[in-house]
């Protein structure tokens, strides 16, 4: 496992992230234009969705697909409750901030997922091709749990069909699922046509994206004073708890080693795109610095640098690969 951790640390991907973080902490003016970062994230979502779909088309649908989707949705619903309780114990943050944070940890970070697939492909470990669909399914339920936690208190959250549409049809989900379906429809032939765009340069593009994530996380860290010590501890402990829950679910469902590692990663990761947007609309009184800093500047780096090799090692041990 130490080997794995070191190999991970020395991958161009992780080092690019570290470079970005270091640059931000040193207050360099290095920055990736917003439009470019958004363009890259479109590329990554399209590529990962398409590859998943094309692979599903060639391998056929697995019986575990439905089970995995179900497991993912349940995890997304339940993890916020766990996160909320933990936060109430560890940190002095307000009830409403705790609920908002909890929502982020039930949902997922697609970039962490992408990095995990890249760790898997480096390690030569296969995974279920429909895991991208599971990722998409896990985005939204956590938001519901968070809003329920908030409405249980005296505070009220604004929630209506409009906001629901926004959440369920947010750009990332639509692109991920859409390209998954395109990949399924066009299959290996379709993949062959665009392989030299979405497969070969993938890791390199991911480096630039993680450089930017490092810059953002580093800038976030400079505002880390919004977090009390307990919150920081939460940011490291919660992904491990989430991963454990994901592991359990994966073993129950009977996922492969790669699938297990990916479900652990999804459960361990925290959202910083879909959930913050929903929270700003529904719960404006919750402080965005708290949830963004925690998920972007604490948990994301933790998962990327330490979490992923741990999850892979554990998955390999327990699925007997």
């Amino acid at each position: 496992m130490l080997d794995l951790a070191i190999a991970n640390l020395l991958s161009p991907i992780v080092l690019s992230f570290v470079l970005g973080m270091a640059a931000a902490l040193a207050r360099s003016d290095l920055s990736v234009p917003e439009a470019v970062a958004k363009g890259i994230s479109i590329y990554l979502l399209f590529a990962i969705g398409f590859k998943g779909g094309a692979s599903l088309a060639s391998h056929g649908i697995d019986l575990t697909l439905g089970l995995s989707l179900g497991a993912g949705i349940i995890l997304s619903f339940v993890l916020p409750l766990l996160a909320f309780s933990l936060l109430r114990v560890l940190s002095g943050m307000s009830r409403i901030d705790a609920a908002a944070v909890a929502g982020h940890y039930g949902s997922i970070s697609i970039v962490t997922f992408v990095a995990a697939t890249s760790v898997l492909s480096d390690a030569g470990v296969a995974s279920e091709s429909y895991m991208v669909a599971v990722a998409a399914a896990m985005e939204a339920p956590a938001i519901l749990s968070a809003l329920w936690l908030i409405s249980r208190g005296s505070d009220n959250a604004e929630m209506n069909s409009d906001l629901w549409r926004e959440i369920l049809l947010n750009g990332s989900i639509v692109l991920l699922l859409g390209s998954f379906v395109i990949g399924m429809a066009t299959g290996p032939e379709g993949l062959a046509k665009i392989e030299s765009f979405i497969v070969s340069p993938f890791q390199g593009v991911l480096c630039i994206f993680l450089l930017d994530m490092g810059l953002i996380a580093g800038r976030g860290l400079r505002q880390a004073n919004v977090l009390d010590r307990g919150a920081v501890v939460f940011g490291f402990v919660m992904p491990l708890l989430g991963a454990s829950a994901g592991l359990l679910a994966a073993l129950l469902v009977g996922l492969s080693t790669g699938g297990t590692m990916l479900l652990m990663t999804l459960s361990a990761s925290a959202s910083y795109i879909a959930v913050p947007a929903a929270m700003r609309v529904a719960v404006p009184q919750a402080n965005p610095s708290i949830y963004l800093t925690l998920s972007l500047a604490v948990t994301f780096p933790f998962n990327l640098v330490l979490g992923l090799p741990i999850y892979l090692a554990v998955a390999q041990m327990l699925t007997g690969a």
């Binding site: 750009g171 800038r219 505002q223 795109i273 959930v275 913050p276 929903a278 700003r280 965005p288």
Partner: protein, 103 residues
């Protein structure tokens, strides 16, 4: 050149709230506005900058709205309902406009 009294309302609002704001403007019978990008800023809820964003959950825009003076109150009331619980600022100034038939 013939000029007419008007009000210029400038609203800084979170991007996620923009659609809700323009719907409120329409409901107050305001049909003219322009949206400008904001790169960063500072306020009671701290300092932010577009560069430090990956989330769609933050970021702001400036909405500029030129209206006839008599439409100011309904506009402000409609807008206020949207921004009430949210961060952002609203300012109003006196301006003169050409082509008054447009407002």
């Amino acid at each position: 050149m013939q000029k007419h009294e008007a009000k210029r309302v400038e609203i800084m609002i979170e991007t996620v709230m923009l659609r809700r704001l323009t719907e409120a403007l329409q409901s107050a019978d305001v049909t003219g506005w322009s949206v400008l990008p904001v790169l960063g800023g500072s306020g009671r809820s701290g300092t932010w900058s577009r560069e430090g964003q990956i989330s769609r959950g933050t970021g702001m825009v400036q909405v500029v709205c030129l209206i006839r003076p008599e439409k100011l109150e309904p506009l402000l009331e409609a807008v206020y309902l949207v921004v009430e619980r949210h961060i952002g600022v609203i300012s109003v100034s006196d301006v003169k406009v050409l082509r008054a038939e447009r407002f």
